[in-house]
Assembly symmetry: C2
């Protein structure tokens, strides 16, 4: 087989990913075979396997796609807003917006992500680049805001916000309300709380709690 290269190669890869994600949405993850993906994408099965060694690797591609879509969807609010709360609200709403079309089979994906030994688990070494890319959004969210908090707490805040977003994803996976309305509600109701708690980290009494929290995060980081 001739090795695919350059623009052509990128294009074929993209067609396979798009086709796979469409079939996952339409038929479900389990029922979609690599053979079916190749056929629908108009490539040979061998060619499909050249790009993706297994169906699981397509999930990693789905994560990457989701992350790119999220980055793009965050641009408007991150470029426009300086206040912390609306930046956080915008980033989290964009996160839910980009996930919603995949809700039906999120549980299937989630099963793989949940296994500690799986490379698809968001805490795995293999997920490092994807995690860094996700963290970068929360870093920009904090750094581009007018938030006034202690520097050490500020350094850890992006990771805390990412963990908070993972909690929202976890809730979303289990959310069966129409249009994932409850997940949006969770975001809208918790953002003001998080905003207030972050601001309160400057107050005497609470300051030492924030410092202790920074210490805990550094000690227990996986």
């Amino acid at each position: 087989m001739t090795e695919p290269r350059g623009g052509r190669s990128e294009q074929t890869r993209a067609v396979i990913v798009d086709t796979a994600l469409r079939l996952f949405r339409e038929r479900g993850y389990e029922a979609t075979t690599m053979r079916a993906i190749a056929k629908e994408a108009g490539v040979s099965v061998g060619n499909a396997y050249y790009y993706f060694g297994s169906k699981e690797e397509l999930i990693q591609a789905y994560y990457d796609e989701l992350q790119e879509a999220h980055n793009a969807a965050c641009r408007a609010v991150l470029d426009r807003e300086r206040a912390f709360a609306p930046r956080l609200l915008g980033v989290l709403r964009a996160r839910v917006d980009t996930m919603v079309p995949y809700h039906q089979f999120a549980g299937k994906f989630f099963k793989f992500a949940a296994e500690p030994t799986s490379p698809l688990n968001p805490f795995s070494a293999e997920s490092g680049p994807a995690r860094q890319s996700a963290l970068a959004v929360y870093r920009e969210l904090v750094e581009g805001s007018d938030l006034k908090i202690e520097p050490e707490f500020r350094k850890e805040l992006p990771e805390l916000l990412w963990l908070y977003s993972m909690g929202i994803v976890l809730y979303w996976v289990h959310d069966s309300s129409p249009g994932c309305a409850k997940t949006y509600l969770l975001v809208e109701r918790t953002v003001p709380l998080v905003d207030r708690m972050v601001s309160m980290s400057r107050l005497p009494g609470f300051r030492s709690v924030a410092r202790e929290l920074v210490g805990v995060i550094r000690d227990v980081r996986a």
Copy 2:
């Protein structure tokens, strides 16, 4: 087949569960068949299936066993201590103690628990009785303590503490440190923080945050 009944039936069921859990620990969940469990337990395969329709049902039995072990392990601290922080520390340490022997195959179990449509997921209707039993420990923890906080916040605190314990379980599933030392560290380091935040809920400024939190919990409860 004669229907098993009474003490004899309970005993057979317990032998099957004990055998299954031992084989899961020794051989792993995937590699253990119902046939092997029946053989080791000294019962017929038909008899084993009479008690447990599938291997997955044995996971529910494992949860129940774990919950009973946790209830028993909490007795000493809940009967002896009145202060909130040591009660919480004792309950969470007992929780980790009872889980540690199963760490190797926790990931396998976790995969099932993570699927939103699975009856084994801790938020499912089928897990209701197990969840209520788990919540009861945190209710006793709060109600038997000398904690002075607003009544409405006090009512929601057991569920918040249970969610916090689920976060610790999630960390534990991914913990690869020897003897799960990092999970114990996480418990020891976060309990004082949680204790301080709970106590601070009485302070002006923080009181409205606690009230808002109660409202959010009630609105977004699954």
